[in-house]
Assembly symmetry: C2
Homo-oligomer: 108 residues x 2
């Protein structure tokens, strides 16, 4: 999925893309760890359906969130920073104004 | 969920209920074993979503199948026998005609 972010230089887009992919990997790794941990507690139908519900929600959230075409890309980065899936340093190279917005929003 | 099967004696209903519950337990145990086994292969988002799809299908199948009110209860028993989730012996006590139908259908 190659997408162009309007108003972003090529370098900025490449930094954003890398940071995005890295955060995505971390989100998936986190999810895998949680699924692995939850599997030990599987005993009844209810616990299996609970795992299914959990996966449904996570899939919906992750697939919705990691949409690089999203208009609110700065907000997405801010939320990833806030949740520890991305470090602000990993976005260095972006225009100062963009970084400032991301940093400010990540504090909410 | 207490349900009355019309045309079945109380003893038959109790036998059916027990067999049903046992087959349900086995189906869930089987599912748990498979989920546990699949968790070892989780590495990418695709493998996690595949597990999610698998659980969606199994949940739909199991919840649809284990409906004691189902009109086609003999057919359900036949399919459980066919898949090894239930032994024909576990239904002994049911009217001979019902057992014969279940046995015959389980061979298809």
């Amino acid at each position: 999925m190659e997408t162009t972010l309007e108003g972003w230089t090529e370098t900025e887009q490449s930094i954003a893309r890398d940071a995005f992919d890295r955060a995505y990997s971390r989100a998936i790794d986190q999810l895998i760890q949680r699924v692995r941990a939850s599997v030990e507690g599987l005993e009844t139908a209810e616990t299996v359906w609970k795992l299914h519900d959990y996966l449904s929600i996570e899939r919906h959230t992750i697939e919705g969130r990691f949409d690089f075409r999203l208009q609110g890309i700065l907000f997405v980065f801010a939320s990833l920073v806030k949740e520890g899936l991305l470090d602000l340093d990993e976005l260095s190279g972006l225009e100062a104004q963009k970084l400032a917005k991301i940093e400010a929003m990540s504090r909410f």
